[in-house]
């Protein structure tokens, strides 16, 4: 599984979210490759999931894959909660 965390430049918040997700996935025993990128790189990329900020709603490129929009990119609880609901939905499909 390939997950991309996305912010304006790919150097700050997207990296913080990436490391948080790495920790969560390690805890849950889920294998995935998580990478931080800038918004310009998101279009046309092969991915299973994108995670970005609600601030990017409207400017985030149209992609075929699911996108999780976070209210607060620094909130570990929100990241965990939304990631878990994504995995639960996948299990139900």
């Amino acid at each position: 599984m390939k997950i991309y965390t996305v912010c304006g430049m790919g150097f700050g918040t997207s990296l913080m979210v990436k490391m948080t997700i790495d920790d969560i996935l390690a805890d849950e025993g889920i294998k995935a490759n998580v990478e931080a990128i800038d918004m310009g790189s998101a279009k046309g990329i092969e991915a299973d999931l994108f995670i970005t900020s609600k601030d990017m709603l409207g400017s985030f490129p149209e992609v075929d894959q699911p996108v999780i929009y976070l209210e607060n990119m620094t909130d570990k609880n929100e990241i965990k909660q939304k990631l878990n609901s994504f995995f639960n939905e996948q299990d139900n499909d």
Binding site: G8, F11, M19, S53
Partner: protein
């Protein structure tokens, strides 16, 4: 890592600050003073807000400023301004900003540890509250050293 970056030279408590522009300039100046970034980098941090909006306010009362490594970074660095009365960046739901972090990265790897610790800090409500109420630079640095 973070406590090597946030020192008495790069952490500053301010009673007030007139504008977000001033906050960005001072955040950059603290890093220019230790020769960690060029003035061009400071200008690039400001330009990015002009172009993209106040999304640097990444959480309530917290701004995280940065530009790209190629904008003029000599070494991994970070500054922190604690603005007691807060400054408005124009992000209504999250203003006033009381903690202004500015950082410089040289690539997408070498500042990872610092960002990881920063994420811990952002999730530590108790520490954030204490930091916002710091009255002197040394008090703030001591607090950071204790927790980081």
């Amino acid at each position: 890592m973070l406590k090597d970056l946030l020192t008495t030279k790069t952490v500053e408590v301010r009673t007030d600050c007139d504008s977000w522009q001033e906050a960005v300039e001072r955040g950059g100046e603290l890093l220019e003073n230790i020769n960690a970034i060029s003035h061009h980098y400071t200008e690039a941090m400001k330009q990015s807000i002009v172009e993209n909006g106040p999304y640097v306010v990444i959480a309530p009362h917290i701004a995280l400023l940065h530009a790209r490594p190629e904008d003029g970074v000599n070494e991994v660095c970070m500054s922190l301004q604690i603005i007691n009365t807060g400054v408005h960046f124009g992000y209504e739901k999250r203003d006033p900003v009381k903690l202004v972090f500015a950082f410089g990265a040289i690539d997408s790897q070498s500042h990872l540890k610092a960002l990881q610790q920063l994420m811990e800090l952002f999730n530590n409500e108790n520490l954030l509250e204490k930091l916002k109420n710091s009255e002197t630079n040394s008090e703030a640095v001591k607090l950071l050293n204790k927790y980081l």
